[in-house]
């Protein structure tokens, strides 16, 4: 009996101890394939990996949407249905063409690193921390510019736009429902970030494949943003900084331009989005299905001097598919050899844009001669036998716009260029079977894209753009 009692007390106390020892700690489990933010930032090496995650989350280049919404591209009868609402300007808040969620996802990842470093992160060297912080600031500026130019009006030719609604400025990751800041406030943050980034970032091309922000890429971003903001001096200066860096040079041969888009190798590339898997180019040319869904308009094609402009053969090929009912297709994203069709990098900044920005900004400042010099430099590299256009005044501005259109088609610019300059969309070559309208007036509400429906549902503080 005594042994029994002893046994009992042993068993009892043992099992009580087992359970008492469990407690809260016992209930802490760690997911094996995920990590906490603390671990993701724990060493400087991990911080660089997390920085790579910010690049991954940063908004990409929409290569067709903003050409389809404008006048550079049309939908062919071979369409599988994509971008139908964009082409017909019938998009709604339920399917907004703007990259709202994607841009903020990048911003949030960047904010986490920015705040960690500003709050006294001590791993690595100061140079490393500065580099990471600067790149994140540049990425944030880039993402906010993607947002503000899509959802708010542009101050370029309309300073009142600065007081209009832009997008919410979020500087830290928190579960909140912020209201929209003004366009001016968004640009203030963008310029602040760019200026700080330029003081922090020292390495030009950390990766060696131009996928990271270095001082030149940040200046390129500054040039573009300044152009949208109407800060012409700044735009011209940033563009000059990139051109003067000596790191980049214009292609002046057809082979060079072809390699730029086919092999994704060129001295023109300033900052690119790397793509190893997604067949982004297939709507423009799909050899597997023998279709072309989205094709350049005759309006665009007819702008080129076919005999002399090296871009014509580099950017366009004759269509082999009669069903598409077009003569040419865009050859910009055929896909790198060895990868699936349409798997191609995209370019956020190429050197030609810097010449175009510089020209436009100087022309706006009335410095026509300097503006023409910049424009002619680009034209001479692109058009065989070209020396100078000799334009000035409005003609010069039109020439810059034309050159921009020819140079940067299918790189996500056209819609925003028209919007920035307050111009309507006018389609001559228009597939009326797929759109009721072929013209969108400059004051049409659709130039401000709708805030996505799900944001309105989740965030009561958001005011929708008018018309939707």
């Amino acid at each position: 009996m005594k042994t029994m009692k002893l046994l009992t007390s042993i068993v009892l106390s043992a099992s009580l101890l087992v359970l008492a020892g469990c407690g809260e700690k016992f209930l802490d489990v760690e997911p094996p394939t995920q990590i906490s933010q603390d671990v993701a930032f724990s060493t400087i090496d991990n911080m660089f990996i997390s920085l790579n995650g910010v690049y991954a989350a940063a908004p990409g280049v929409p290569i067709t949407t903003f050409d389809v919404m404008a006048d550079n591209a049309k939908i062919t009868p071979q369409t599988l249905g994509s971008l139908a609402q964009e082409y017909a300007w019938t998009f709604t808040a339920g399917g907004s063409p703007g990259n709202w969620g994607g841009a903020y996802s990048g911003i949030a990842n960047g904010n986490n690193i920015i705040n960690a470093i500003q709050d006294g992160y001590s791993e690595g060297t100061e140079d490393q921390r500065n580099q990471i912080l600067g790149e994140c600031l540049a990425l944030r500026a880039y993402a906010y510019h993607i947002l503000v130019r899509a959802f708010g009006p542009d101050p370029a030719l309309n300073p009142a736009a600065n007081d209009a609604l832009g997008v919410p400025v979020v500087r830290e990751t928190r579960i909140t429902t912020p209201a929209r800041n003004t366009v001016g406030e968004v640009y203030d943050l963008i310029f602040e970030d760019i200026e700080r980034a330029l003081t922090l970032v020292t390495q030009e091309d950390r990766s060696g494949i131009k996928i990271n922000f270095g001082p030149s890429a940040i200046a390129a971003l500054g040039a573009r943003v300044a152009l949208y903001a109407g800060r012409w001096d700044l735009a011209a200066a940033y563009a000059q900084q990139v051109i003067n860096s000596g790191r980049y040079s214009l292609e002046d041969s057809e082979a060079g331009l072809e390699a730029l888009f086919l092999e994704n190798e060129s001295s023109e590339i300033i900052w690119r989005r790397r793509n190893l898997t997604a067949g982004i180019g297939t709507p423009l040319f799909n050899p597997n299905l023998s279709i072309i869904e989205i094709a350049p308009t005759a309006d665009l094609i007819n702008l080129y001097d076919r005999g002399n402009d090296i871009r014509f053969n580099a950017y366009f090929n004759p269509s082999p598919f009669p069903g598409a009912q077009v003569d040419f297709y865009s050859a910009k994203y055929l896909g790198r050899p060895g990868l699936s069709p349409g798997v191609s990098d995209t370019y956020v900044f190429r050197l030609p844009e810097m010449y175009l920005i510089q020209a436009e900004a100087l022309a706006r400042l009335g410095q026509d001669a300097n503006a023409r010099t910049a424009l002619d430099q680009l034209r001479r590299s692109r058009i065989r036998g070209f020396s100078s256009g000799n334009e000035s005044g409005q003609a010069l501005l039109r020439a810059i716009e034309n050159e921009r259109r020819k140079e940067l088609c299918f790189e996500g610019h056209r819609w925003f260029d028209l919007k920035r300059n307050g111009q309507p969309v006018v389609r001559e070559d228009c597939n009326t079977a797929l759109t009721p309208r072929c013209r969108l007036e400059a004051d049409d509400f659709r130039f401000l894209l709708p805030i996505p429906q799900r944001e309105l549902q989740a965030n009561p503080n958001i005011v929708q753009n008018p018309g939707y």
Binding site: T8, V11, L12, V18, D28, I35, Y104, S207, R274, Q457
Partner: protein
């Protein structure tokens, strides 16, 4: 020796009882139906702890203390009987087999309580029901057997688990599977096929909050408590049970075209010239007339052999069993082989200590079809219906397999050369120790495991069509996974009777559960030689395939720490009150809400114990129950609450990015359940049953709410939303003829009915979520079909007509016309079962049918089989001959060239059914015959048929649905079995 033991037991009990003058009573206990002595019957002096057990010849002897005058006889599966002793010293007793099959003691897994103390809603299924039905997965046997429990066969594949719902679905985004507990161990709600159903003694279905109280945090979908067989003291009994069966496919409720019809159809349609180009070809093709159903489905064998031994003495008891079960599937290529063993052993040191082990191990080998279910041309069931009848399985001249059909690969050939197997090793068991610290206070500790190891291999021959899709041809994929869970439970149980008026049962306990899952998988393509199946061997994988190997692994875990208590008080055997609290800490929930508390309170009034009822001769049992309490659901991802980063790649380099915002407030989904019940037995117990009415509100539903994208996240898992289930459950049992009345003939009928109404009351930010062809919408039940309403065929044009969103008939179809269809849910709101059995002189015929009502399923098969527009090159249903042909024709099948064929209510059908699940004719050999053998104590022969017929309007092969739409599911077979059951 035996007598000594009995003496010791008697003495021991006597020590615990009171030492007054005594007398000895002896006697024999027999089963009057079988005229057979019953060993192992518990004989107890009422109102004392004094008891004994009848020996192998049914004989007992017991010392009765002074002042006590009643003996109670209890035996599992038999009616309890009380005998007043009076002046008798020899009392022979006849115990009748229980027709209601309810035991007097409810074991909820933690504590056992006599029926009068029960305040919750329980239903029970006993071994008798389970042993009758040779089905690999025991959950399928529960169909129609318990009110409130809806079990649906999800597939006719051998070993396929059922879909089980208790009182409807309580969750939208989490699991609705009940919690399964076997001998105190939580087991996975799957792979029941690795357990031997015949080892089960009873299955308790715990429904309301009072019944599930001690499982609180995991009980929102009800609890199924499985108790396995224990040894009976007395002479060791040996048993052999054999079942041999044949399975066939049930009759379809539609016909496919034969070869000539299909060819004529194609010619009439006119857009297909390949097969039927010339009249001469038509005749030779028509002559082939392959019936692909006959080729894919077979008469399949099944067999089961089982031995068991049960016995012991007052100290040690054991139950040992072993079984081999083999079932071919009616679908070519599917098969289940199972080996199981069990040992249940317990020891009672005769003083205060008891300990034991209950353990089972099962090994199964499953042959799967490579693809099961779905409109996939690699699904054999799909090909059985839509392969063209004018194409042969084998070339009629050479006898070689026809490699490819116009409708895809020849799967008869593919099934022959490819393999998809799973080997599963499963162990479930626990060891326990009980010690009586005081007379009234017992400590129990139990430690159990649920272990499952699965290895799978999927092989595609390089010579097959499917294997040929790999470059280079052929592939092999293998995986190992390992699931381990332990459960440790410590309880203190206190039982105290104060006088005869007060009975207290109280329990307090702690529990800890830790579950881990590990897996490793690898695959490679390129098989050089079908006889050699290497994964990574450099010598046998072709050079160009050496980089096409992939390896993966996974791990996850979760833990639960719990504290619980339950107090039950019964006053004068009339009034019971039962209160329970369980507090759980779960690793799945947020740091702010890691612990959740669940409680219940219940009361019962045993009216039959009241004096004013005792005089009423036709009332034997009458009890009212009322309970209220909460039940939780924690079936979410193991890391769902945590904020975290994930690893991926950008530009070929590793990258970290935030994935999940985390919700430190994430907590349990909670059911608030109110239950009212009546238990009754009237007319000398001829009519008995239960009635339960309940209202269950699930609050804090797990819903992925939308976040402002400015947070960087799209969704946040939150506890919002409300859903309700309310219903009524009826169970009725009637003994129409008792054996003593009409010369040994007996007949009874029992049935149950459940009505459960589900309503989604609140979905937080949105009013509805569309899930393909079904919709989750406020004000509608879960499982509501979402479709365009079909308005029939326009007699003038033969085109389908549809109702638009305003209810007007439209000649064109538009997705916008989709509406949530009221009262059209596939999750049946009404269901039940009915059983009748009659016995005469050892013969017993029992017939069991189950039914569901008001279930609506999208018959997706018809979309493919009645679709001359898109699927004319596949075989089609003869229903197309009813199609509109000329103006004025009135039909619901549109014209062939209608150029439209859309998902609409045209394909949503009433899948209500009554199914004759089981008919058993059994014969117990007369005892006189067996006596001469001196060895065999009991022998039973039985003939059985499962799924004999189904009454339904549903026009596919089977109205039982595993989801809101049916797409070439594996049909449930009809089974005939012959059984022999012998006890030595």
């Amino acid at each position: 020796m035996k007598k000594q033991l009995l003496m010791m037991l008697t003495l021991m009990l006597f020590v615990c009882g009171n030492a007054l003058a005594q007398r000895t009573v002896t006697g024999t206990v027999i089963d009057p139906d079988l005229n057979f002595p019953l060993p192992g019957v518990t004989v107890q002096v009422k109102g004392t702890q004094t008891g004994t057990i009848s020996d192998s010849e049914g004989k007992y002897s017991i010392e009765v203390p002074e002042g006590k005058n009643t003996l109670v006889f209890r035996y599992v599966g038999y009616e309890t009987k009380e005998e007043a002793i009076g002046s008798r010293t020899v009392i022979d007793v006849q115990l009748k087999e229980k027709v209601t099959e309810l035991t007097d003691v409810i074991v909820d897994g933690y504590v056992q309580k006599d029926r009068p103390k029960i305040t919750g809603s329980f239903a029970e299924v006993t071994s008798k029901t389970i042993e009758q039905v040779p089905i690999a997965s025991f959950d399928q046997i529960l169909q129609g057997q318990a009110p409130g429990l809806l079990a649906t066969a999800t597939s006719g594949r051998p070993g396929a688990p059922a879909r089980v719902r208790i009182r409807g679905s309580s969750s939208i985004n989490s699991s609705n599977e009940p919690l399964y507990i076997m001998d105190g161990v939580q087991i996975l709600a799957q792979d029941f096929a690795a357990l031997n159903p015949n080892d089960i003694e009873s299955v308790q279905v715990l429904k309301d909050a009072s019944a599930t109280a001690l499982y609180g945090s995991r009980a929102s979908n009800g609890v199924i408590v499985i108790r396995t067989k224990r040894g009976q003291a007395g002479t060791t009994r040996f048993g052999y049970r054999m079942q041999q069966g044949w399975q066939t496919k049930t009759q379809d409720r539609f016909d496919m075209m034969d070869a000539r019809e299909k060819l004529q159809f194609e010619m009439d349609l006119g857009d297909r010239t390949g097969a039927a180009a010339e009249p001469g070809v038509v005749d030779s093709l028509a002559a082939l007339n392959t019936n692909w159903r006959d080729e894919f489905f077979r008469t399949a064998r099944m067999q089961s052999h089982e031995v068991f031994a049960s016995g012991g003495d007052e100290k040690n008891r054991f139950y040992i069993s072993g079984q081999y079960f083999q079932q071919e599937g009616i679908q070519l290529g599917s098969q289940l082989d199972r080996f199981t063993g069990r040992i249940n052993f317990s020891h009672d040191n005769g003083k205060k200590l008891r300990l034991g082990i209950n353990a089972t191990g099962g090994f199964t080998e499953d042959q799967f079809l490579v693809v099961e279910r779905g409109a996939n041309l690699n699904n054999p069931v799909t090909q059985a219906y839509i392969a063209n009848p004018y194409e042969p399985v084998r070339n009629p001249e050479t006898g070689e397999f026809n490699q490819n059909l116009t409708t895809g690969p020849n799967l008869i050939r593919e099934l022959d050369m490819n393999d998809d197997t799973q080997k599963l090793f499963k162990v479930v068991g626990n060891v326990f120790l009980e010690y009586d610290i005081l007379d009234n206070l017992t400590f129990r500790t139990s430690w159990g495991i649920d272990y499952r190891r699965a290895s799978t291999a999927r092989y595609f021959s390089p010579e097959g069509y499917l294997g040929g899709l790999n470059n280079p041809a052929g592939s092999l994929a293998k995986s190992f996974s390992d699931h381990f869970q332990y459960v440790g439970t410590n309880t203190l149980t206190y039982r105290k009777n104060i006088g005869t008026d007060h009975q207290i049962t109280a329990i307090a306990g702690q529990e800890v559960i830790h579950r881990t899952f590990n897996n490793l998988s690898a695959s490679s393509v390129g098989i050089v030689n079908p006889d050699l199946r290497p994964l990574f061997s450099n010598t046998q994988v072709p050079t160009d395939a050496r980089d096409q190997v992939s390896v993966g692994s996974g791990f996850n875990e979760n833990r639960l720490v719990s504290y619980f208590t339950n107090v039950n008080y019964l006053f004068q055997a009339k009034y019971a009150i039962d209160a329970a609290v369980r507090v759980d800490g779960s690793s799945r929930f947020g740091s702010e809400n890691r612990f959740g508390a669940f409680y219940s309170i219940g009361g019962a009034w045993n009216i039959d114990q009241e004096d004013f009822i005792k005089g009423i001769s036709f009332i034997q049992d009458l009890k009212l129950r009322l309970s209220y309490g909460t039940q939780g659901n924690q079936e979410i991802g193991n890391y769902a609450w945590q904020p975290f980063y994930g690893a991926f790649a950008y530009a070929g380099d590793p990258a970290f990015g935030q994935i999940q915002p985390g919700n430190p407030n994430y907590r349990w989904e909670t059911n608030q359940v109110l239950n009212f019940g009546i238990d009754y037995a009237l007319l000398d117990g001829r009519v008995s049953g239960t009635i339960d009415v309940y209202n269950s509100r699930t609050i804090d539903l797990f819903i992925a709410t939308q976040l402002s994208s400015t947070t960087g996240f799209a969704n946040l898992d939150q506890n919002v939303g409300v859903m309700r289930n309310r219903g009524i459950e009826l169970a009725l049992n009637a003994e129409i003829v008792r054996p003593t009345e009409v010369g040994g003939f007996s007949w009874n009928i029992s049935g149950n009915f459940t009505y459960n109404q589900n309503r989604i009351l609140d979905l937080f930010q949105e009013e509805e979520f569309i899930l393909g062809t079904s919709i989750v919408k406020e004000g509608f039940p879960l499982g509501t079909q979402f479709s365009v309403r079909y308005a029939g065929v326009d007699p003038a044009t033969g085109r389908g007509m549809y109702y638009d969103e305003n209810g007007n008939v439209s000649m064109t179809f538009n997705d916008r016309y989709q509406v949530a269809l009221p009262n059209t849910t596939w999750d049946a709101p009404m269901f039940g079962g009915i059983t009748t059995s009659a016995s005469y002189k050892g013969f017993t015929l029992s017939v069991f049918g189950s039914y569901i009502m008001n279930s609506f399923t999208l018959n997706n098969n018809r979309f493919f089989m009645e679709n001359p527009v898109s699927f004319a090159n596949f075989n089609q249903s003869r229903r197309l001959f009813d199609a509109w042909q000329q103006p004025g024709d009135v039909t619901d099948v549109p014209r062939w060239r209608s150029a439209e064929n859309f998902f609409s209510t045209r394909f949503i059908e009433d899948a209500s059914f009554f199914r004759l699940r089981n008919v058993v004719l059994s014969y117990n050999l007369p005892r006189e015959w067996l006596e001469s053998t001196k060895v065999i104590q009991q022998a039973q022969l039985s003939l059985q048929a499962q799924n004999l017929f189904t009454l339904t309007r549903y026009t596919s092969f089977d109205p039982e649905a595993a989801s809101n739409l049916q797409v070439f599911d594996y049909p449930v077979p009809r089974v005939y079995t012959l059984g022999v059951d012998i006890t030595f």
